[in-house]
Amino acid sequence: MNFNQTRRTFLGQAGLGLGSAALSSLMGIRSASAASDIYPSAPHFAPKAKRVIFLCMAGGPSHLETFDYKPELDRLDGKAMPESFTKGQPIAQLQGKELKVLGHQAKFRPHGKSGLMVSDYLPWTAKMADDITVIKSMVTEQINHDPAHTFMNTGTAISGRPSMGAWVNYGLGSLSQNLPGFVVLTSVAGRNPQPIASRQWSAGFLPSRYQGVEFNAAGDPVHYLSRPKGVSIKQQDELIKSIIQLDKKKLGQIRDPEIETRIAAYEMAFRMQSSVPDLMDVSKEPQSALDMYGATPGDGSYASNCLLARRLAEKGVRFIQLYHRGWDHHGDLDKYMKVCCEHTDRATWALLTDLKQRGMLEDTLIVWGGEFGRTPMFQGGKGGAGRDHHIKGFSMWMAGAGMKPGMSYGETDELGYSAIKDVVNVRDLHATMLHQLGLHSNRFTYPFQGLDMKLTGVEPAKVIKGILS
């Protein structure tokens, strides 16, 4: 499956500007000369979005405490869940338990000109009511966290497939020569955090350079970015230069095009040593910006990561994924909704508003959501009332880049159990995202194991036209 080498070998000997071709190849940067029939070198049609910021609320936030208001749910609070809803349905931790309805844990109110219903847990999100597009009819296929994340990120629950950020970079390339095209930022807070596998940002069968790179808030921002203690910047630079010099000499002797790719990698590593720490240092932001996000430099919080996301977007990172891992509220739903919203609500608003003020929301697609929703049914335990995992209907929102703002799309039934109108599955979400980036999900393929693999898989996927402006 070693296409990389083949491709690069070809590039190397096709007489393209060698150094730059290797660098382009390494970075997945599209240049006018970069053998357009080898790379998927241009979008299929004019894109609305240049980049994506995916705000992943890992654990599965409750749609019934955020966007999906159901008066009937409050009316039946504490009563037995009508069996007609649940019979034969997959259930996670409530297997074999008595099923009771749990009413909304917070009040819902209409907001903005659009009158979008938002719960009181999300006062800052409510301010964006006219900017976001809420999909209330999401469905997924996986009821446990790990496979559900994998499904949301890669379009299948089978391990080893590329994540959407890798796909997008493979398709469109990076816009930055100093930074990876797919960056992952994680933050903790809230309930016992969800474990997240690095599989979630894997390049799968795509060339390794498209994999997501995790930027760490503490320690080295990128693994092994810092030079060893006792080595000065000057010494390190001279060492890298010597390595490049010796490899170039080798290249003169043996013409292996892989050496060029290697030299480009060392050049990029060299630049990353200064570009990444600079980027990560949000202390240079004006106090007003820090206040807007509620960020404290270096704290690794979701708020700081939102601010970082904006900085990354400005520097040309194509796909930015933020994880907040506290949303698995089997118990103490009210308490943990408050905690999680406290950590995320304002910062999410700040990110959107900041991008808007900078004119970047037009070509940035923001996606917010978890891997699934939560049951209308009560789950009890040691603490207060909670909800179990739920896959038949939940809410997500998108904003920016060609979305119709201030609207709600799709519906669940009267108890918020099953999506019944304009159902959107994960494949449709992917297809829509790709569409905004100028990519046609059916034509965007990569051969693997004899198949033309797609992010959207083998089942049909449709662009959700109803939410596009």
């Binding site: 296409f3 080498q5 790179v213 810092s226 006792g230």
Partner: protein, 831 residues
């Protein structure tokens, strides 16, 4: 608008066409020239999948293609007459072409020509190459008759001569020694070995023998095998807890070192527990069936996970042994190969007797019974003695029954305390008394007491051993076909173990109703009545890949309709036959592969060679490629002198960035690096955390081992550069190497850099290289002398102490030189 399906792989096919396609006037080969087109462009709608077949037309069989079309009454293919064939008419139809526009597939003019020519020549079908058992081929005659060293060379050279090409000259002795040493042991050659071969003291064959009989041979082969079978130290899903399996890795290493025949190797892994009187290591081998990813997440549905595990095993066993993607038939009949959805589930049924329950609790390591304990070799005799003594007192089956009864009794005794109701209390007490009675019935009390004493000793001993998951057959679960792969759908037919229907049927001995994993293993390696020939070809192709850098068929795991046909099918067939006829002798196959003239070629490619055949499909040279992650680590450790080259044992935990496991939970994880010589063990022993593989391994393309990996990517990324530049393992190794350079390399710069090059690259530096390193050394040294940074800091990296008899400035400066050497292309490449 551009089609995205054009990419590197297709480009390769395009280039391949020049090399592989018939020369003008040469006859078409169905499997090589026609099938790939039909498969890629037509089979999706007109192929084996009966539920998704358009116009009731199938083009994957002669019968289907020649039949009268239901709607029009015409014929899709009229052999010899393309102009009358509806197939061609529709392909050429500009208004309504085939393949249809919405399929996003289209035929190139060259492909249309081939299809036309094929029909003209009679539209002859051949069985797919991958399903036709390999047959013997005589070594072809060659013009350059003094070149071949063994019969492999005849096949390679004949193909080259047909294309008017010639092989490359032999590589120099140093390159050959390094190539062989990395390929066969995964370690750089000892300088003495290079000298012996260079001086002619030992012959090439002796060099091969030395390396192939090294205990490191098994380690090198194991790296590849562990990728195939997805060996890892953790469960892979959700909490990604550790599980007990490292003795299985020891088994694999042993098997390669002992040259266990491949058919036996197969039986032991798939069905070690079902062999008559299985040995300890055969039981360990059966751990293969437990290597899959499992989830210990609370709230998982047993039924769903049974389906997930079943599919996982089918994917792996079919990819590893059959080079087939039977996993694709989990939801529907295979789109390109004759595997049906039923085949998927009958194959899964072989594994329905494996215990997959009870994975709960967030403890480390997690408990996944059945497991057994492997002791160090020096303790094993003691354990054997104890077991024999125990067996004299109480027979083994009774021992197991006693344990079971004791467990129940203890559980009941615990429950007794919390019971209030007297009636229920009495009932439970009666059951306890009954269990005691049953235990007492097994042996007189004095014997039982003696048994208990011995058992206690045995348990104490066992605590010093390593646990490992094994397979113990239990009553098979019911296996149904799951329509569309839906685990909630119980409407599917109940199936029992069977091989794919189109490949025949297993003949079971009289009285045996249900086929077992052992029957499957036997079928996979039976060359007369089973698919042994095909298995041999799958494996021969992979061994070729290991020593030549690319498979004869580049599709190492997809010997199906969509896989690329072998460049040199006769050679591949002949290798497969030779492999099984030798009695599945792996070392003999490896020896054959590395003693050919083709193997010994130089890997230097001219611009012309690169342009003509960038992937080196025709083997007119050796290949050069980056070493696998483990070997880059091993190389640095070996050259530094730090390497601990013990064979086998538990996994090792090298330095790792702080907080790297912070995303793991259930339970939260804190990585504890090993602060003893385990720190410097070989890469294949590094703790394999599926969700967060060591970042060094990951940066150098080691797979997470969630699925079968037959071929790793070979990338050069900035992350990999950062690893080699800054990972403490490499800094510590460089410092230790620097100590050797300064203390053993002589006094002058000239002597020292010469020594360093010899140790790291087995050659002398040229003037330019010396000048570059001299400059680097002097500049670095000058900065230390000016006190610009703390010179002793570098001595604190890692757990090995820095030398005290060398000045810190000397040590730090030479460490920089050593780092430079470790970062070179030449150091990280096999050529």
């Amino acid at each position: 608008m551009k089609s995205f399906t054009i990419n590197a792989n297709h480009l390769f096919l395009g280039l391949g066409l020049f090399l592989l396609s018939p020369c003008l006037g040469e006859e078409l080969d169905f499997n090589r020239d026609v099938r790939p087109i039909l498969s890629d462009k037509c089979f999706f709608c007109h192929g084996p999948d009966s539920n998704h077949r358009e116009a009731d037309l199938r083009l994957d069989t002669e019968e289907g293609a020649y039949a009268k079309l239901k709607e029009s009454g015409n014929f899709a293919i009229v052999p010899g007459k393309p102009e009358q064939s509806e197939f061609m008419i529709r392909i050429l139809d500009k208004e309504d072409p085939m393949p249809p526009v919405e399929s996003h597939k289209s035929l190139k003019p060259k492909e249309i020509d081939i299809l036309k020519q094929w029909i003209k020549e009679g539209a002859v079908y051949e069985d797919p190459w991958a399903y036709a058992p390999p047959v013997k081929h005589p070594a072809p005659k060659v013009k350059k008759s003094d070149w071949p060293s063994n019969w492999i060379d005849h096949f390679v050279l004949a193909r080259l001569e047909k294309k008017g090409l010639s092989p490359s000259p032999e590589a120099d002795p140093v390159t050959l020694t390094r190539r062989l040493s990395f390929d066969l042991t995964g370690l750089p050659p000892k300088p003495a070995l290079v000298a012996d071969f260079q001086s002619g003291k030992i012959s090439y064959e002796q060099l091969v023998d030395t390396l192939i009989s090294s205990p490191h041979f098994g380690e090198r082969m194991a790296i590849y095998w562990l990728d195939l079978v997805r060996y890892a130290d953790t469960v892979g899903y959700h909490g990604d807890q550790d599980h007990n399996i490292s003795p299985y890795r020891d088994y694999v290493i042993k098997a390669f070192n002992n040259n266990t025949p491949f058919d036996q190797f197969t039986r032991e892994q798939l069905a070690g527990d079902l062999l008559p009187k299985p040995t300890l290591w055969q039981k360990v081998a059966s751990g293969y069936n437990r290597l899959l990813q499992t989830s210990h997440e609370g709230g998982i549905q047993a039924k769903e996970y049974n389906a997930i595990y079943a599919a996982d095993r089918v994917r792996n066993v079919s990819e590893v042994w059959m080079g087939a993607t039977v996993g694709c038939a989990q939801c529907h009949d295979h789109k390109y190969d004759p595997y049906t959805i039923k085949d998927h589930y009958t194959m899964a049924a072989f594994f329905a007797d494996i215990h997959d329950k009870g994975y709960t609790g967030n403890i480390l390591p997690t408990i996944r019974p059945p497991e057994m304990v492997i002791l160090n070799p020096e303790l094993q005799p003691k354990a054997d003695r104890l077991e024999a003594q125990m067996a004299e007192l109480v027979p083994p089956h009774a021992q197991a029954e006693i344990s079971r009864l004791e467990m129940l009794r203890n559980k009941w005794t615990g429950q007794l305390k919390s019971l209030r109701d007297d009636k229920r209390k009495a009932a439970l007490q009666a059951r306890i008394t009954d269990a005691d009675k049953k235990i007492a019935a097994f042996a007189p009390q004095d014997k039982l007491n003696a048994f208990y004493r011995l058992r206690k000793q045995h348990q104490t001993l066992a605590k010093q051993g390593r646990r490992t998951m094994i397979t113990v057959a239990e009553k098979p679960r019911t296996m149904r076909i799951l329509p569309r792969g839906n685990w909630q759908d119980d409407s599917g037919e109940i199936v029992t173990p069977a091989i794919p229907e189109f490949m025949g049927q297993l003949k079971l001995p009289e009285g045996q109703e249900r086929a077992t994993r052992l029957d499957l293993a036997n079928w996979l390696t039976d060359t007369a009545k089973g698919s042994g020939g095909l298995t041999a070809r799958v494996m021969a192709n992979r061994f070729w890949y290991l020593f030549y850098g690319r498979g004869i068929s580049p599709s190492l795991s997809d010997f199906g309709g969509q896989g690329q046909a072998p460049v040199n099918p006769q050679l591949l067939d002949q290798l497969a036959v030779a492999f099984y006829e030798s009695g599945w002798d792996v070392k003999a196959l490896v020896r054959l592969l590395v003693t050919s003239r083709a193997y010994r070629q130089s890997s230097l490619a001219t611009a012309e060679m690169l342009a003509r055949d960038p992937a080196n499909a025709l083997v007119d040279r050796q290949s050069r490629y980056r070493l696998p992650a483990e070997l880059i680590r091993d190389n640095a450790l070996a050259v530094s002198g730090l390497l601990v080259d013990e064979i086998g044992g538990e996994s090792a935990k090298p330095y790792q960035p702080e907080g790297y496991y912070r995303h793991l939970n259930f339970p939260p994880r804190k990585y504890q690096q090993h602060n003893d010589p385990r720190q410097w063990r070989r890469g294949l022993y590094v703790h394999w955390q599926r969700m967060f593989l060591h970042p060094m391994m990951k940066a150098l393309d080691a797979p997470s081992r969630e699925e079968c990996t037959a071929e790793r990517p070979r990338s050069n990324t900035p992350n990999a550069a950062l690893v080699l530049l800054n990972d403490p393992t490499f800094i510590e190794a460089a410092r230790n190497f620097a100590q050797r350079i300064v203390s053993k390399g002589g006094d002058s710069f000239e002597q020292r850099i010469g020594f360093a090059y010899q140790e790291a690259l087995n050659r002398a530096p040229d003037e330019e290289e010396k000048a570059i390193f001299k400059q680097l050394l002097e500049d670095t040294r000058a900065q230390y002398d000016q006190g610009e940074n703390e010179v002793t800091q570098l001595g604190k990296v890692g757990i090995s102490p820095a030398a005290t008899d060398i000045s810190p400035a000397d040590l730090a400066s030479w460490t920089t030189v050593a780092r430079g050497l470790f970062n070179l292309y030449e150091f990280t490449y096999r050529n």
